[in-house]
């Protein structure tokens, strides 16, 4: 995990240093005064040879020093930490919706194997994987917000209002009112993987001897489907979450833009379009970091759920 992050940071370092144009631009806003520029040059060692710069870069990174955003005139760390939670809430809600619907639908489609609804279900699922996420978001916005006026058209709060604190935000219904459409949009895209994976695993598991034997013991069909088939089939789906999260982060970028959701994705887009290099760099590192971390979490979850793994720890 750490190795990957290190490589990513290194790649970033080279991308930003080798950008066409003045390499100093990566850290110094041309509108700074001579003096300010000089200070920054020293802080980031921009007048030193490349390999020394790299060392400073890594050291800064470990210290959590990511520079200052040109646009916001605030430290990158501050800017990011203001919006990072919003992205996490969005991802979490989307993942929950996607996984619940996906897993249940996967079980259902497996149960209905060979019937017409199975084909219909599969084609519909492929649609959700083939449709551009932002387009789905646009449609949902146009219909449910602009036309039917059920949901707000963007942002995390109504125009002009501000939440008193993080907790106040989480407890306020208005927040969820704003969160719902973007989360739903992301969920629509994400549910394909758990659905298809669950269905596929169920079909495999339903052929296992222990499912037959459970029926033989006179247990009800529902119980057999859930406790015997689904419970065994869902283990790999949890691992799949790691893959799913990778896709989620990419999706965040566009979905946050469509809904003007104040999150990390939208921040990245803004930073790139305004050539705010420090912010873009910081946002990118964070996004990669979140992904790597979530993979790690998924691995742990898997080992907890499958008693065949990690036997010694359990006895």
């Amino acid at each position: 995990m750490i190795f990957t992050m290190w490589i990513i940071a290194t790649i970033l370092f080279f991308i930003f240093r080798l950008m066409p144009g003045n390499p100093l631009v990566a850290y110094i806003d041309p509108t700074f005064t001579e003096e300010q520029q000089q200070i920054l040059m020293e802080q980031f060692g921009l007048d030193k040879p490349l390999w020394q710069q790299y060392g400073i870069f890594l050291k800064n990174l470990l210290k959590g020093e990511l520079g200052d955003s040109f646009f916001f005139r605030d430290s990158v760390v501050n800017v990011i930490s203001r919006v990072l939670p919003n992205t996490i809430y969005l991802m979490l809600l989307a993942l929950i919706i996607a996984y619940i619907i996906g897993i249940l639908a996967g079980i259902y489609l497996a149960w209905k194997r060979g019937e017409r609804i199975e084909t219909v279900g599969i084609v519909l699922t492929l649609f959700t994987r083939a449709a551009p996420q932002f387009w789905v978001g646009m449609i949902l916005l146009a219909v449910f917000s602009f036309k039917l006026n059920i949901f707000p058209s963007g942002g995390a709060s109504s125009a002009g209002t501000v939440y008193a604190s993080e907790w106040a935000k989480l407890l306020s219904p208005a927040f969820y009112h704003h969160l719902f459409l973007p989360a739903l949009t992301l969920a629509v895209y994400l549910l394909g993987l758990p659905l298809l994976l669950m269905r596929s695993n169920m079909l495999d598991v339903m052929n296992e001897a222990y499912v037959d034997m459970a029926r033989m013991r006179g247990l009800s069909k529902v119980r057999v489907m859930l406790k015997y088939a689904a419970r065994n089939a869902c283990l790999p789906v949890i691992t799949a979450m790691a893959v799913g999260i990778g896709y989620a982060m990419g999706g965040n970028v566009v979905i946050e833009t469509v809904f003007s959701w104040p999150g990390l994705g939208r921040l990245l887009v803004k930073a790139v379009s305004t050539s705010d290099y420090p912010l873009a760099q910081g946002a990118f590192i964070l996004i990669a970091g979140v992904m790597v971390f979530m993979n790690f979490v998924a691995d742990i979850l898997y080992s907890l759920l499958d008693p065949r793994v990690n036997l010694e720890n359990r006895r």
């Binding site: 033989m216 006179g218 008693p307």
Partner: protein, 337 residues
């Protein structure tokens, strides 16, 4: 009235290539307290028969005709719900491949309690006690109950599923290849234990196996199956001492026996016929060393050649001669050409 009376049972499968007549008219009786072995090679329809009796067949299987009387009532006419009630409480099963027959993500205890509480209506305390007793009865340490299925060894697992099969005091236990996956010594032990349990508890048993020597050890009656039909039926003694059907004679040669360690094993050449388009005459015709021209076109029915001993073969008087020839390697080898 016998405990189990199977009358002309047929179980067919729909496949892409046609209807597979896997079980094509099986009849046998099982008296209370006795055991019958259904013997035959893979694919002859033994497991299918049993799955048909308790109706846990796959989606494309169906029963075109037949009756199965359990305690005098035709259970094939029971609704799915009623059948579900009967399962495990009246008829239970010791499965093939005990390895995979338990849910891997729950403890063994959990699965015992599940069936005893849900179907047997026991409370938790009683259920645990009974589970422990069952384990002790099959020779397992009761602490093992808290373990997961994959933590058991092969022989232990087999004993565990036997214990589970007895959980609700069923009247009939079906065992499907109960010892195939085990080594010969353990096979012997488990078969003996099964026999003792059966006698002690007064159980009736149907044992499915492809190994005729296993059946010899444990079963009172034997029904030999081939290509979806019963080709010989009788008591264990009758069939093993005086086999009447060539297939039975061939089977006897093919399996190792602890009592005859120097026995030469002779396999029956060829393979069973396609049951989607079964042959019109005797189904064993292709592989039978004693076949006659009439065997190809006419199907021999089951005929009682001595009291309680039936055979589906046209050889009825000169069986003694063929029995001797069947013991020679050459007889069978010439069929392999």
């Amino acid at each position: 009235m016998a405990l189990l009376e199977v009358r002309n049972l047929k179980v067919h499968y729909e496949t892409d290539k046609g209807v597979n007549q896997a079980v094509d008219g099986i009849s046998f009786d099982l008296e209370q307290g006795r055991s019958i072995g259904l013997v035959g090679e893979s694919g002859c329809g033994k497991s299918t028969t049993v799955k048909g009796i308790v109706r846990i067949m796959s989606k494309n299987a169906f029963i075109p005709t037949g009756e199965v009387y359990f305690d005098g009532k035709d259970i094939l006419k029971y609704s799915d719900k009623k059948m579900q009630e009967m399962r495990w409480s009246d008829i239970s099963m010791v499965p093939q491949a005990a390895m995979d027959s338990l849910n891997p993500v729950y403890t063994v205890k959990n699965q015992f309690l599940e069936v005893m509480q849900l179907k047997g209506g026991m409370n938790k305390k009683d259920a645990i006690e009974r589970a422990e007793n069952l384990f002790t009865m099959v020779g397992l340490n009761k602490d093992l109950l808290s373990y997961y299925p994959h933590e058991f060894s092969g022989g232990m697992k087999q004993r565990a599923v036997i214990a589970l099969a007895l959980a609700l005091n069923p009247r009939l236990v079906i065992t499907d290849e109960p010892v195939t996956a085990l080594d010969v010594i353990v096979q012997h032990q488990i078969l003996n234990e099964l026999k003792e349990l059966r006698l002690k508890l007064g159980l009736s048993m149907v044992m499915i196996t492809h190994d005729i020597s296993v059946v010899a050890q444990t079963c009172d009656d034997i029904a030999v199956m081939y290509a979806g039909k019963i080709v010989e039926k009788g008591t264990g003694k009758q069939i093993l001492k005086n086999p009447l059907h060539p297939y039975t004679m061939g089977l006897e040669n093919a399996f190792p026996n602890l009592n005859e360690p120097n026995k030469i094993l002779i396999s029956i050449g060829g393979s069973p016929p396609d049951l989607i388009d079964p042959p019109s005459g005797c189904r064993f015709y292709e592989r039978c060393p004693f076949s006659m021209p009439e065997c190809k076109h006419k199907e021999p029915g089951l005929v009682e050649l001595e009291p309680g001993h039936f055979s589906a073969c046209f050889h009825r008087e000169d069986v003694e001669k063929y029995r001797k020839e069947a013991k020679e390697v050459e007889t069978w080898q010439q069929m392999i050409m």
